[in-house]
Each structure stands twice: as structure tokens, then as C-alpha cells.
């Protein structure tokens, strides 16, 4: 039985008063399974439908058609059972200002009917570096600390499936490491993890399999290593002070002075370098590196390649 099964999920948001037409199609017939024990990445640019998909999984939103199962439980018709198996870390940094960290965690346990949970709550506080904040009011915590509490709240009922919706957006290095160590440990112990993130190096390092969404459609679904193989195998990277010739600028990813060009073979590399020389420019710090997930992501989003396995 898959941990999560998305079956032909579509979501259409009704058009607002200022718009006419059929409404916005946020998800278009998305289907895939996540197996138990996977560390699965869901990637896509803003507005691709990642959060819509997770909201439907969480029961915060309802699919216009299709259905979602968590360990076989339908998230609409059998929502209580589905939600007991799910631990969701929401994207927004939300908190209840009336309570302390420990109270918030006890209350969250109680919603799930988990009694005498202080042992696990203490372990969560310790693992997430919150032990000294247990009796602090939620309002007094910094953003990073609030994020840790959100993670603890999602895990308080020991869910089999952990969903992290952009958990590291605006989070410092220390918390990222604490968080990933802890989540990786839970994954090793058998929990399934579904992660959305904009940090592609994180997804590359952590996820065994990845789906990519674009404008509500699934454009890639494969293991991380298959995805890496599918892209241009190499990238030519250099620094330059002037504007690139038009012919190669269109293919380049430019970040300030740094230029990166996808290259399949030595001829292409020669072609790029000679175009620069003919334009009378000088490339510095030239190197050739292996393509990473960010290169794959950009190629998939430009629809140069499609990867499904």
C-alpha cells in the first residue's frame, strides 16, 4: 500500500468577481504514489500547485475532482483516520499566542487523542533544540524557534507520513541542519517524508525520488539519480564583465558576473568559448562541472526535457 496516493487530482479555483471565465486551474489531473519509507521531493516554481496539492492532502482544501489516500484512507471520506497518519508542517509561520510551547504541544497531542505524551514531547523538544524554551510563551520566540515548534506540533502524534511544506524558507543554517538530521532519523526509522522546497541542493541531498510541477501539471517524476542523468551532463561556468553575445546569452543562466551554460560535449564548449573570443571578451575562472538538480529543474521547466519513470 502506498503511503500517499494522488489519483487524478484537479483543483479549479472559482473565478473572482473581477475575472470572467472558467476560473483558475491550480492542479490538472495530477497522479502519483509515494511509497512507504520514501523521502520524496515535490518541486516547482511559485504558483505551480505544490501548496494546493498539500492542502488537499491535509484536508485544508478540497479537490475539484480526483482523490487522495493516506495509507489507504481517503482524506475526505475517512478524514479522521487519514489525518491521524499525517503530520503536516505548514508553510506559514503561525502560532497560538495564548500558550507556552509545552501547552501548545500538549493541546496538539490532545486533538489527536494521544494521552500521557510528555515523554515524546520532551524528546521532540530536545531533538529540535527547544528544551530551554518549553515554558516560554509562543509570542516570545524568534521566527526560527517558532518554526521548530511547528515541526514539533506536526510530529506530536507520531505520524507515519511527515509533510514539510517549505520548512526552511527564511531559516538559518543551524536550524536547517538540526531539522534535516532529525527528519532523516525519522525517515530511517520508517516514516515517509514528503518535502517541498525551493532549495534544490537540499532536495538533491535528501530526496530519493522527485516530482516536478509546472502550472498545475506534473512535468517530471523520477528518482533523483535518473533526473540528474537526464539533464545535460555538464555545465560550463565562467565569470565575465561585459554583456554576452546574443546567440549564447539566450541559453545561459546568468547570476551577476557568473555565467553557466549547459554543455553536452566538447564541441559545444568550444563553440561557446570561441563565440566569446570572437566578440572580443575575456572569460575568467572557467570551469566545467557536473549538472546538478538546479540545472535539471531549469531544463524541465523550460520543457527541454521531460522525465517520467
Amino acid at each position: 500500500m502506498p503511503a500517499i496516493s494522488f489519483q487524478s487530482v484537479s483543483k479549479i479555483y472559482p473565478s473572482t468577481r473581477s475575472q470572467t471565465g472558467p476560473g483558475v486551474r491550480a492542479l490538472d489531473n495530477v497522479s502519483f504514489d509515494i511509497q512507504q519509507g520514501e523521502f520524496f521531493g515535490l518541486l516547482g516554481p511559485n504558483g505551480a500547485g505544490k501548496t494546493s496539492l498539500i492542502s488537499i492532502l491535509a484536508g485544508l482544501s478540497r479537490a475539484s475532482s480526483g482523490r487522495v489516500l493516506v495509507h489507504g484512507s481517503d482524506v475526505v471520506t475517512d478524514y479522521a483516520s487519514a489525518r491521524r497518519k499525517l503530520g503536516i508542517v505548514p508553510q506559514e509561520l503561525v502560532f497560538d499566542p495564548f500558550f507556552t510551547v509545552r501547552e501548545a504541544l500538549r493541546i496538539q497531542s490532545g486533538y489527536f487523542g494521544v494521552k500521557n505524551n510528555d515523554g515524546w514531547i520532551d524528546e521532540l523538544l530536545l531533538s529540535l533544540g527547544l528544551a530551554d524554551k518549553a515554558d516560554a510563551n509562543m509570542r516570545q520566540l524568534s521566527g526560527g524557534m517558532k518554526r521548530r515548534v511547528l515541526v514539533a506540533q506536526a510530529l506530536v502524534h507520531k505520524p507515519q507520513v511527515i509533510v514539510l511544506d517549505e520548512p526552511t524558507a527564511g531559516v538559518d543554517v543551524e536550524l536547517r541542519q538540526t531539522l534535516w538530521q532529525f527528519v532523516a532519523k525519522l525517515n530511517k526509522q520508517g516514516s515517509t517524508v514528503l518535502l517541498t522546497t525551493h532549495y534544490l541542493e537540499e532536495a538533491e541531498a535528501l530526496c530519493n525520488r522527485i516530482a516536478m510541477l509546472k502550472q498545475g501539471r506534473m512535468v517530471a517524476l523520477a528518482t533523483t539519480s535518473e533526473l540528474l542523468k537526464a539533464a545535460s551532463s555538464n555545465v560550463l561556468r565562467f565569470k565575465i564583465d561585459s554583456e554576452l553575445p546574443k546567440a549564447i546569452a539566450d541559453k545561459a543562466r546568468i547570476t551577476g558576473r557568473i555565467v553557466q551554460l549547459p554543455a553536452h560535449n566538447a564541441n559545444e564548449i568550444e563553440h561557446y568559448l570561441s563565440a566569446i573570443r570572437e566578440a572580443g571578451l575575456v572569460a575568467e575562472d572557467v570551469e566545467i562541472r557536473k549538472a546538478d538538480l538546479e540545472d535539471v529543474f531549469l531544463e524541465v521547466m523550460a520543457e527541454k526535457i521531460g522525465v517520467t519513470a
Partner: protein
């Protein structure tokens, strides 16, 4: 505790932690009414032959506080947690719409009764009413608080902004409580306004509640019970159904 009991407990803890504002302030307001109206009107207003005006005013003020605070509890909790985003913690839980309903309405009843008891304790000093039928007192206090708690639930789900909530509170709840016979017997009104008052369900809550103290009322307590009970059923059915479909909370 089971799931809904935890939500109920959380909702009680929420208002109790800011008790100065949620319980203390309405008690002070009621004392102000008592001082001013009781002092000004004691010798001018005659309600029932056997009951002095201040003694008449005590149950009215108690019930008004019960109703207003029961409404304030569920409505403000919902609108705040919707705007803060913290409602997500309840939305992600396995609690059913019935669990939500009993937790939110139950905690509203607790807040309403806590404030009502407080108002009674401090206002009884000004004019001691009798307790002819204590069971009626309890029945109307609980039913009235539950009705307003359920109404607050609907308002909290419906409102998207604090000013929409203020509209509901100031243009619906306040006029209906003030025009329900808290400060007067509706027999002292001109016939037209008597008829209008009979259309106000709040009138029956206060009239029935007052019957429990004095054994006299404008209409029979059984009629009041039937009307308040029916209103509670209708409003509860709407509230439970809105929760079931996730009205404005699950998109």
C-alpha cells in the same frame, strides 16, 4: 482527555488566561449599568407590583452579560485564529464537525455562566432578587448561552475581518439584547413596540430567566422555553452544517 475535550479545554483556557478582559471587564460594565440605571430609575419605574426596580434589573443584567459573553467567546476565538492562521492546528486534527461544535459552544457556555455569576455576585448587593424557581434560572442561562455561543460560531466562520465581526456585534447582538427587556418590562412599551419585542428571541431568554427569580414574567416560561429551545435547534443545525462543509475554513 479525548480530542473534543482538549479543544473545549483549550477554548476555556484561552479566555481564562485573559480573564481580566474576558470576565472582569463585562462584570465592571454591568456594575456601571446597575449604578446608573438603578440609581436614576429606582423611584420612577415600576415593573411588577411586588418587585423593586433594582431587584428587577439584576437578572436582566446577568442574562445580558451571559448572552453577550457567550457570543463573544466563540466568535472572537474563531475570527482571531482565522486571521492569525492558528486555526490550522485544529483544521489539521481529526476532530469532526460535531467535536468542533460541542467544544466551541461548550466553552462559550462556560464563559457566559462565569461572567453571569460574577455579575450576579456584585450586583446582588444593590437589590436582592428572590429565587422562586432556580431550575428555570439554570435552564434559561444554559440554553441562552448555548444559543449565543452557536450564533457566535456562525459569525466567526462568516466574518473574514474584524470590522465584519464588529458589524455583527454592534448591529445585531447589541440592539437585540438591549431591546429584549433587560431594563424594562415590555408591558410598559406602546403596543407596537410590544409586538416587535415579541419577535425578538432574546426577549424570551430574559423573560424566562427572570421568571426563575420572581415567579412572574411577561409571557409563560413554557412558551419562552419552547421558543428558545427551537431557536437553539435551528441555529445549532446551521452551525453544525457550516462546520461540516468547512464554510470559509476549508477551501
Amino acid at each position: 482527555m479525548t480530542g473534543w475535550q482538549t479543544l473545549f479545554y483549550k477554548e476555556v483556557l484561552r479566555f481564562w488566561k485573559v480573564g481580566f478582559q474576558t470576565v472582569g471587564a463585562p462584570i465592571l460594565t454591568a456594575v456601571m449599568y446597575m449604578l446608573i440605571f438603578g440609581h436614576v430609575l429606582q423611584d420612577h419605574v415600576k415593573v411588577y407590583d411586588t418587585v423593586g426596580y433594582t431587584a428587577f434589573l439584576v437578572p436582566g443584567l446577568v442574562m445580558m452579560s451571559v448572552l453577550q459573553n457567550a457570543f463573544a467567546n466563540s466568535s472572537s476565538s474563531l475570527i482571531q485564529s482565522k486571521i492569525m492562521g492558528s486555526l490550522v492546528f485544529v483544521l489539521l486534527s481529526p476532530l469532526s464537525h460535531w467535536h468542533w461544535f460541542f467544544a466551541y459552544v461548550g466553552s462559550s457556555v462556560v464563559r457566559g455562566l462565569a461572567v453571569g455569576l460574577g455579575v450576579f455576585v456584585v450586583t446582588v448587593y444593590f437589590g436582592q432578587p428572590s429565587f422562586l424557581a432556580p431550575l428555570w434560572i439554570l435552564v434559561f442561562a444554559v440554553l441562552g448561552a448555548a444559543l449565543l455561543g452557536a450564533l457566535g460560531l456562525i459569525a466567526g466562520l462568516w466574518a473574514e475581518k474584524f470590522d465584519q465581526m464588529a458589524v455583527f456585534q454592534n448591529f445585531v447582538i447589541m440592539p437585540m439584547t438591549f431591546l429584549s427587556g433587560v431594563f424594562y418590562s415590555i408591558h410598559s412599551l406602546p403596543p407596537f413596540w410590544q409586538t416587535v419585542s415579541h419577535l425578538n428571541p432574546f426577549f424570551y431568554m430574559i423573560d424566562g430567566f427572570r421568571y426563575g427569580f420572581f415567579g412572574v414574567s411577561d409571557v409563560s416560561p413554557w412558551l419562552s422555553l419552547a421558543i428558545v429551545g427551537s431557536a437553539l435547534l435551528v441555529v445549532s443545525a446551521i452551525a453544525v452544517n457550516l462546520l461540516r462543509i468547512g464554510y470559509k475554513i476549508r477551501h
